[in-house]
């Protein structure tokens, strides 16, 4: 029996660890210097970065807590404070690790001076940061980006842009800083370049075999979430793209024997990323997913005003801020572009914004594309809400359709 693993590890992962370590150290230093903000993943980070405010991400902290399998314990700290187990496990992990940082081996973040939340990813972010704010005393800034029914209306644009102007004022007051146009343009350019490189890596997965699997992308997305607008982020994606292109050139797949190509919908279960590797052993690869494709689009402009317009465009139009039709269209497009055989929808109990609607969109996507799908239910951090055997049964049923 061969000891060879069914999947191939990316060499770029070593660099990823260095970046994560560096980010952690810089966050600690920023906290001590009074320049740290906790930021939601869909926040227009180009603005605080250009104003020398260092961002760090509770969602990534939640992913680390999940991946290190201490999710139930850390979420439990929040439950001890009265927060319901029905609430988002990222939020519970954040509240729990803020309450008892010394009891969290990995994933507790240094104390911030502000919370910067944008509700383009969910409505929970405000409530979560309000709770964190009560714990730390640091103020919350909310960038309100009302969900889009179709095209963004002019008064929505005006409202979000006013929010950005308030953000600049808030950061100026809280951190005694200003937004310089040259710096803003430079950061926006770096951010756009990183996103472009990342998008190229994602697009390369249209090739057969796919050079990246789900787990690869979930890990390598970290810098585009946490370090957009920073030089080292762009450098990382240059290295990643080079490795991806090399794989494509040599027809090296992310898994050794690609038989079935599937779409993944939603956040992954961080505590069991081996789920993807186990499927790799059966020839299943996930060349595309809706989660990592959420970081796309470039902030472009020639001056502060036009750059802010670009920010309004990009950050209002993120995947989770659109209606069900847009989500269905995106899934159908990915299935077509990546020539996928089916899809797996992970119904995440923590994330209503992402998950409610999946039962309906599953039917519509199958109707429109002709490919089958399955909905499995669980959670991204709290493994108490994940029934592996039940999920396996459902996935098996899907895979039998391809035999």
């Amino acid at each position: 029996m061969s000891d060879e693993k069914p999947y191939r590890k990316l060499e770029t992962q070593a660099l990823l660890q260095q970046i994560a370590f560096r980010h952690g150290m810089e966050a600690m230093a920023a906290s001590e210097e009074g320049n740290l903000a906790w930021v939601s993943s869909g926040f227009p980070v180009e603005i605080p970065v250009a104003m020398n405010v260092f961002p760090t991400y509770p969602e990534q902290s939640g992913a680390i807590i999940g991946a290190t399998k201490i999710g139930p314990e850390v979420c439990g700290f929040a439950e001890d404070l009265g927060y319901s187990q029905e609430l988002c496990s990222y939020a519970r992990a954040s509240i729990g690790s803020t309450d008892r940082p010394d009891d969290v081996a990995m994933g507790a973040l240094p104390k911030p001076q502000a919370f910067l939340g944008c509700n383009n990813i969910c409505g929970t972010i405000l409530k979560w940061y309000d709770a964190n704010s009560e714990q730390t005393g640091a103020p919350v800034f909310l960038l309100d980006t009302p969900p889009l029914e179709a095209e963004q209306k002019p008064h929505h644009r005006a409202y979000v842009k006013q929010g950005l102007e308030r953000l600049i004022e808030f950061l100026g007051k809280t951190f005694n800083t200003t937004l310089e146009e040259d710096k803003f343009r430079e950061v926006a350019d770096l951010s756009s370049r990183a996103i472009k490189l990342w998008t190229q890596s994602l697009k390369a997965c249209q090739n057969k075999p796919s050079p990246l699997n789900c787990a690869d992308r979930f890990l390598t997305m970290a810098p585009v979430v946490s370090s957009r607008g920073m030089e080292h982020c762009t450098e990382f994606y240059e290295v990643l793209l080079a490795e991806v292109e090399d794989r494509v050139k040599q027809s090296i797949g992310a898994i050794r024997e690609e038989k079935i190509r599937l779409l993944w919908d939603n956040i992954p279960p961080w505590f069991i990323l081996r789920f993807f590797n186990q499927l790799a052993a059966r020839g299943v690869v996930f060349p595309a997913d809706t989660y990592t494709h959420a970081w796309s689009g470039a902030v472009e402009g020639t001056d502060t005003d036009s750059l802010l317009d670009g920010v309004v465009d990009i950050y209002s139009n993120v995947y989770l801020n659109k209606n069900l039709d847009a989500k269905v269209d995106k899934m159908c497009q990915l299935i077509k572009d990546f020539d996928l055989d089916g899809f797996v929808m992970f119904s995440v109990r923590s994330c209503k914004r992402y998950s409610l609607g999946q039962l309906v969109s599953k039917e519509i996507v199958t109707e429109k594309t002709g490919v089958p799908g399955v909905v499995i239910e669980g959670d991204m951090v709290d493994s108490r809400l994940f029934n592996e055997a039940q999920i396996q049964t459902r996935v098996d049923a899907l895979l039998e359709m391809f035999v």
Binding site: T124, K127, D130
Partner: protein, 399 residues
Amino acid sequence: MSFPEVIEQSNQVLQALVDAGERVIGYVYPHPPHEILIAHGLKPSLVRTNPSVVGAYEASLQTFSCSLTRNLFSQRVSSSFPLLAGIVFSGNTCDALQNVGDIWRKRFPEDRVLRLTYPVGDFGEASVDFLSMEIEALSNELTGLYGVAFSESNFRTAALLLHEIRDVLQLFYTVRLLYPSLISYNTLSNLVGEFLTAPTQEASERMKGKWEEVVEKLDTNQKNTVEQLRESLLNQDLSDFEAEIDSANHRIAVIGGMVEPSTLAGLMENIPGITHTTLVLDMLSFGFKTVFTPPVSIEGDPFRESARSILGAHSEPTQEGLPKRTAFLKDVLTKLSIHGLIVCEQSFCDPDEFEAPSLEKAAEEVGVATVKLPLDSELSDRARIEGRIQTFLETINAS
């Protein structure tokens, strides 16, 4: 009146309106632009949960959708929904309502589903600008859907009617707080229920008639105190309110989200230890917050004034302003001599469940005992809920 009786009565009222040729439009979030809807010839009515309808949502919603949306969906699937000409879902208030509005459109394409998107941020005029544009867009959509244009004259009549209804309900709430023996919580909740079912002239007349009965029991000083407290509650500022509150009997307040006063009234009526003066205040979304909304001015632009009124109401857990809400709660608890606070948590309701620990903490900081009450629309755990309330009251009585 029990909650099922409230539902029954509400459905009868709606049926009578429909039979009389009226168009009834349902709303889910407790801050609709009533006056604008009426100006289009519609009768706005709260879409209520129905505890007797269970479990018909599973093909469309996961179990972790909030109990409110699950129940509404189940009612629609099982065809036990009231006769509505349309339903207004809120946008940007919570993730469940946002997504369920979309799902509803897919599952029931024959329904007229409208959306009114609210600002979450407390940004003064920017928020008013945004909401007024949303309300105007809704108004245009109503014109297209029903062929009835916005009527300035109907708007003015509606603004007056809503002002009268809210005004008298505010007085009832205030009297209940100051002199709870003069109006039972059950009566108050029934009157609020009438407002939520349909804010009609007939309902207004009944409320005014009831008020005549109450006001004659108040002396001049008491009337002044009632008016002073009403203003303070409306302005969300109790700093200047000073009055002697009779706190010989234990006084309980209830806070939480999408629960109706009549649900609570029904829950409380059979619990040993509850007297007719025990529950003196609810601070619920469908009760207190809907009622304590400032009147719409008829002087300016109707959409803008409607937005200003809605945003002038006590804020919801779905909005910015937790520190302001907890500070106001502390004032209510201390200045109005509340001994115990019941914090309602609707099952799988993120805003409720996130806010509950902060509310409990605020109460604790001013020395008021609390109990958390996990609820769902079906009151499926009723015996345990009643047990919790009873134990809570016994604890307070013993202290």
